[in-house]
Amino acid sequence: MAEIRFENVKKTYGEDTIISDMNMTIKDGSFTVIVGPSGCGKSTTLRMIAGLETQTEGNIYIGDRLVNDVSPGKRNVSMVFQNYALYPTMSVKGNIEFGLKNRKVQKAERQKLIEEVAEIVGLTPYLNKKPQKLSGGQRQRVALARAMVKKPDVFILDEPLSNLDAKLRQQMRSELVQLHAKLGTTFVYVTHDQVEAMSMGDEIVLLDQGEIMQMAPPLDLYNYPANRFTAQFIGTPPMNLVSVDQLPSAGFREKAVEQIGFRPEKAKLRHFPGNDQFSMPCTILNRETLGSEIIYQLDTFAGKLYAKTFNEPVVDDEQLFVSVNNEDIYYFKENGRCIAPYFNRETPIKVRSTV
């Protein structure tokens, strides 16, 4: 059990800066997900916690211990790799046992620990098999068992589900969450999949180009995005953004508002302009019927927008109006910062068009 603290951590490779000045505290016992587009530095961050990479500057603490110069094996950290990295020459048992042997754990004790974890992950019948005889899901469990058996302070997982098929991934997702609840250890989980991040994490660190965009619980990230990047990264389809220049009239300039945004699921499709503050005529370009929900791609004079409806009949008229409640609108300044939707609610947005 331990919290992880990053203090002004910087990582560069030659000329390239991967992480620039990272400060964060991953709470003890939390399930923290580091998410971001590829190349954002999330794996590097993880590998620095494990000690597989050394930061160029700054300090990393695990618990109260400064681990800058501590070798990976001595950090009491366990890692699950994306491709599992199981030792192909050893049996399942050998894989789980390897770390214990290196730690000089007594044989009887090892046997007990192995039986324990094998029971938890359901591998008992496979202990004497070689990893290459197992299915993807079973290999995943071996990787988990190998990590768990060491009883680490911190459990780190690098895109562990990306090699599994969709159904198995769903299943492992909930198993991992349950496992976390059972162990109570700090989990740090890296993924590029926002669905995984939102569904598993109780704290999400959103990274872009080596900088933390926002660190918050999933719903806060969704409801109160700190900036344009967060707003667009979380949610499918992403948040609609409309430049204020596209809007016929508005007093945004003084407040340095550059764009307004709203979530597709908050957009309403109507046959009439309605009384909402934001309303635009639109035509339907494309329709994705996913069952309980329908995603529309709309063409408006302000560009292409998305709308998403739940359990509503399909709209197939050509000419429609898209409107949004005032409280569902987000305002973005020129630097991309979000002025929360709770800012200045009474300011009307007069975008009712006559087009």
């Binding site: 494990a50 000690g51 597989l52 070798s71 990976p72 094996g73 001595k74 950290v77 366990s78 890692m79 790799f81 491709n83 990295a85 199981l86 030792y87 192909p88 020459t89 050893m90 390897f98 770390g99 290196n102 730690r103 070689k130 290459q132 190998r146 060491k150």
Partner: protein, 291 residues
């Protein structure tokens, strides 16, 4: 007509390869086995059937037994030392920097030089009076060696040349084997507190063992047929000390023109090589594939 053609087309397609194979591989081997039961001097029209007399003669001929012994000694030391040194070298120079790239190229270069040139070069280096090797030994105050001139050291000198020639190729193949090991395994091992020695013994070595096995069998087959260096450097001498199986066959066949007798020695070589080949395929089929 067209159906006939359709049916035989595959046979026609493979016919050239089969004909070449039969003419230049199967027929000579068969003819050699046939000759091994006969006495023939290459010229006279009649070949006299002698049964197993040639083989009986071989088993009593000290020169043949010496050549067999030399072949085994040569094979044992050249293959053993080459494999161990190549493994150590590969572990040392398998690094991504430019310097080690240069070292890899340098180590590999003997492989692309003709064996004849190498033999000439080493003869000069090993010359007891004017050779560079003795000069070097003298400079460090070490006792000089007679190298190829003494029966005690000649075979080991030839082994030294064989090692020098083959080590680069072996090193390169082992490096390729090392590079095919996923780096994640070593990271996992680092997190498992594995020492460098444990990582080598439990991960690296088992992972490259199929490669090593392949190399050892190939080297064994090659070493059993050593000929060029012997022919150029010592002609089997001094005092038969470097006479090997293939050189023995060559001498009796094409110098003394005892074709039947040489063929029976050839059959012995064929049997040894066949055993190695069968062993290779048998173990290859059983070997574990790590994927």
């Amino acid at each position: 007509m067209s159906r006939w053609l359709e049916r035989f087309r595959p046979y026609l397609m493979v016919a050239p390869a089969i004909i070449v194979f039969v003419l230049f591989f199967i027929y000579p081997i068969g003819y050699m086995i046939y000759l091994s039961f006969h006495e023939w001097d290459f010229i006279s029209p009649d070949k006299q059937f002698v049964g197993l007399d040639n083989f009986a003669g071989l088993s009593e001929h000290p020169e043949f037994l010496k050549s067999l012994e030399n072949t085994f000694v040569f094979t044992f030391f050249s293959v053993g030392i080459t494999t161990v040194l190549a493994l150590l070298l590969a572990l040392w120079i398998n690094r991504p920097t430019r310097f080690y790239g240069f070292v890899q190229g340098a180590v590999f270069s003997p492989h692309i030089i003709s064996l004849v040139s190498i033999a000439m070069l080493w003869m000069w280096l090993m010359d007891p009076q004017y050779g560079l090797l003795n000069w070097g030994l003298e400079m460090f105050g070490l006792p000089q060696s007679q190298w190829l001139a003494s029966p005690e050291t000649a075979l080991y000198s030839i082994i030294l040349v064989a090692i020098w020639k083959s080590i680069g190729f072996n090193t390169l193949i082992i490096i390729a084997g090392l590079q095919s090991i996923p780096p994640h395994l070593y990271e996992a091992a680092a997190l498992d507190q594995s020492s460098r020695f444990t990582s080598f013994a439990k991960i690296t070595f088992p992972m490259i063992s199929p490669t090593l096995f392949f190399l050892i069998i190939m080297n064994l087959i090659g070493s059993f047929q050593v000929f060029e260096t012997i022919d150029i450097m010592t002609q089997g001498g001094p005092l038969q000390s470097t006479n090997t199986l293939v050189y023995y066959i060559y001498e009796y066949g094409f110098r003394f023109f005892q074709l039947g007798y040489a063929s029976s020695a050839g059959v012995i070589l064929l049997i040894v090589l066949s055993i190695l080949t069968v062993l290779y395929f048998f173990l290859m089929s059983k070997r574990v594939h790590y994927q």
